[in-house]
């Protein structure tokens, strides 16, 4: 691309979270006329189309937007999933473990054990369907109580919670842990 204006438009379109109107694009450069902006838009669009790019400039509801070409969408989504197996973070695992063994219990109690705020972790465990609100505690503020779900049991191939090793059995269990499927 040759025109400085087209480069500026590219940067602006790239940085914006939403489509950008021609008026907004014109506002980027005080000295640019709307005709010049229109020409720069055409230049950018033709550059993407003619010079072998993975993105294109499209006019969508309300303005212009750089979008990835649809033929790459599938490969990108597949790679994103492959690259990110949905593993739980250490923080999530520890929170889940506390809930599994102490349920029903409230957030404050979990935070006391883990020593950090767990609001975000609770939300993500809840979104994944591994924990649920089982009731409210008595007392100040009547805090929500959390417990594990049926999906939690399924995830670990457990028939019921009592199949989890007791704390005093853990030392042994940890040494002989078998893959999830074979634990009974």
């Amino acid at each position: 691309m040759t025109s400085p204006l087209a480069k500026l438009l590219e940067a602006a379109l790239f940085a914006s979270a939403r489509p950008v109107t021609a008026d907004e694009l014109t506002a980027l450069d005080d000295s640019a006329t709307s005709d010049e902006v229109a020409a720069a838009i055409t230049e950018l669009r033709e550059h993407y189309d003619g010079d072998g790019h993975g993105v294109e400039l499209l006019e969508v509801a309300g303005g212009w937007q750089i979008l990835t070409r649809p033929e790459y969408t599938e490969a990108i989504e597949r790679a994103q999933l492959a690259a990110r197996p949905h593993r739980l973070s250490a923080a999530a695992l520890e929170t889940l473990a506390i809930i599994a063994y102490r349920q029903p219990l409230g957030r404050a109690e979990i935070e006391e054990i883990r020593g950090v705020a767990v609001g975000g972790v609770l939300k993500s465990l809840h979104d994944r369907g591994l924990i649920e609100v089982t009731g409210r505690a008595e007392g100040l503020g009547r805090p929500l109580l959390y417990g594990t779900t049926a999906l939690f049991l399924e995830q670990f191939a457990l028939r019921h919670l009592e199949e989890l090793p007791r704390a005093d059995e853990l030392a042994i269990a940890l040494r002989t842990v078998a893959p999830a499927g074979s634990v009974t």
């Binding site: 940085a15 520890e94 889940l96 219990l105 979104d127 670990f156 919670l161 704390a167």
Partner: protein
């Protein structure tokens, strides 16, 4: 926390904008920063600080800064005065064992100064990055977790282990936080046995029973069997437990 009681003053370079992320106490990020600034202003060798003079200036500054509530600044002031007093103690010129009372302070100041050098590097870096935008528009994420959750029991148990080791007084033994109600469960079983000669485990337990109910029932059955009120049988492992009224016992009762 001290910071909450302080007057909030943005640093002179305007580095704290509105929507402040961390409110600065004063221009200074702490007593060491203030001390370092005094030493710089006075062009003093950090390894040979005239403690009496610096202590005086330090006290003057914290009074003008209205930092009278800042424990950290007061603590440093007290430290400076203590060092000053120690410096005044008479000592033998030839005493090889004499330790400079300023040594620890000097070490901390040097360490702090080095950290400030790193801050300068980070600040330049952060500015460079702030001046570039990443793409803000992101295509809608592919339908929520399409990938199965990769999670094994081993991972969960390791987490439990981490917690147990982390908590100072492990109290994981109380797996079931509710008190068991064995008496209640015994009454339930007796009621069932009064009506039926035979029953099964699953007849006595709702599918949604909580762990404490399961355990209560189990203990109740064992207790009743021990007392000879019922007989328990399980044809094979994991099969439903069969409960039968102990005829001899109930007739005797």
């Amino acid at each position: 926390m001290v910071a909450e009681k302080m007057t909030f003053v943005a640093p002179p370079d305007g580095s704290v904008a509105h929507g402040t992320f961390v409110v600065e106490l004063t221009h200074f990020s702490g007593p060491l920063d203030l001390l370092l600034s005094l030493i710089r202003d006075e062009q003093i060798d950090i390894r040979d600080i005239p403690i009496a003079r610096i202590a005086e200036q330090f006290l003057a500054r914290i009074s003008t800064l209205e930092l009278d509530e800042a424990a950290e600044y007061l603590e440093m002031a007290a430290r400076l005065l203590r060092i000053k007093a120690q410096m005044l103690l008479p000592r033998n010129e030839n005493d090889e064992a004499w330790e400079d009372p300023r040594a620890e302070l000097v070490r901390r100041l040097l360490e702090y100064q080095q950290m400030r050098e790193i801050v300068d590097v980070l600040d330049i870096r952060a500015e460079a990055r702030r001046n570039r935008f990443a793409r803000a528009f992101l295509p809608e994420q592919p339908a929520p977790p399409a990938a199965p959750l990769a999670l094994s029991l081993g991972e969960l148990l390791n987490a439990v282990d981490r917690i147990i080791r982390a908590v100072r007084t492990p109290s994981m033994h109380d797996v079931i936080p509710r008190a068991l109600d064995v008496d209640g469960a015994m009454n339930t079983v007796r009621g069932m046995m009064a009506a039926h000669a035979n029953a099964r485990w699953t007849d006595l337990l709702a599918p949604s029973s909580e762990p404490w109910e399961v355990l209560s029932l189990l203990l109740a059955l064992l207790e009743l069997a021990r007392r000879g009120e019922i007989r328990l049988a399980q044809p094979r492992p994991f099969a439903n437990v069969e409960i039968a009224r102990d005829v001899a016992a109930s007739e005797a009762a």
